[in-house]
């Protein structure tokens, strides 16, 4: 447990370590206790590093990052889909595909898998985007799309 407490910032340990150790000596240590101490260490490091929001700061940044990744993937997916629908100008490929239809099949399979991935991302990420947007509007947070 003392090793776990070393994850806490120095200022925190100077103030609370002794009493925390005394408490832990009388407490039944379980995996939940270890996980709780790890989360507490993250929160204490953020809290004592002039970040008063603590763990919620990490959650906000994570949410912003996910929103940014979702938007980037959507933009990529739209562009990629449009590119796939362009007629392949390479005559060599078309001629080869005539003799080796498996190439055309593979080409189409890539397109289908790409579209499926795009749709899956859209369906899975859309509720998150809607909720994040609502929260951002309600709490007037302008930095939802800023992961940095």
């Amino acid at each position: 447990m003392q090793l776990l407490l070393r994850l806490y910032p120095q200022a925190w340990r100077e103030r609370y370590e002794e009493e925390m150790l005394a408490l832990l000596e009388e407490h039944q240590i379980t995996p939940a206790t270890v996980f709780d101490l790890l989360m507490g260490a993250i929160d204490a490091n953020l809290h004592y590093n002039n970040c008063s929001e603590g763990v919620t700061f990490v959650v906000h940044r994570l949410r912003s990052g996910i929103v940014m990744i979702f938007c980037a993937f959507m933009l990529f997916g739209v562009g990629w889909s449009m590119l796939q629908r362009l007629a392949d100008p390479t005559i060599t490929f078309e001629n080869t595909a005539k003799f080796h239809p498996e190439l055309q099949i593979l080409h189409n399979a890539v397109f289908i898998v790409g579209c499926s991935a795009f749709l899956a991302f859209l369906i899975g990420g859309l509720p998150l985007i809607v909720i994040s947007a609502k929260r951002a509007i309600r709490m007037k947070q302008r930095d939802v799309l800023n992961p940095l």
Binding site: E18, E19, A22, D36, L37, M39
Partner: protein
Amino acid sequence: MMEDIRAFSGTQLEPGTLYGAITRLEKQGWIEPLPTEDRRRPYRITANGVTALREQVNTLEQVTAVGKNRLATLEGF
């Protein structure tokens, strides 16, 4: 404190969560530390803490009263 919370709420707090709360409460000025007793440090609520707690309890009482009134109007439940 952990035993007291478990007794009245049924919730078992882990030490990490407890000290996260103690840190915030102390920073808010709602509790203050007392002299250490055998490596354990008791805490005491401050006047500001009493004010804040009273406000929270009043809010909870209002919510409870509204909930009870609305439940009473539901027939068959």
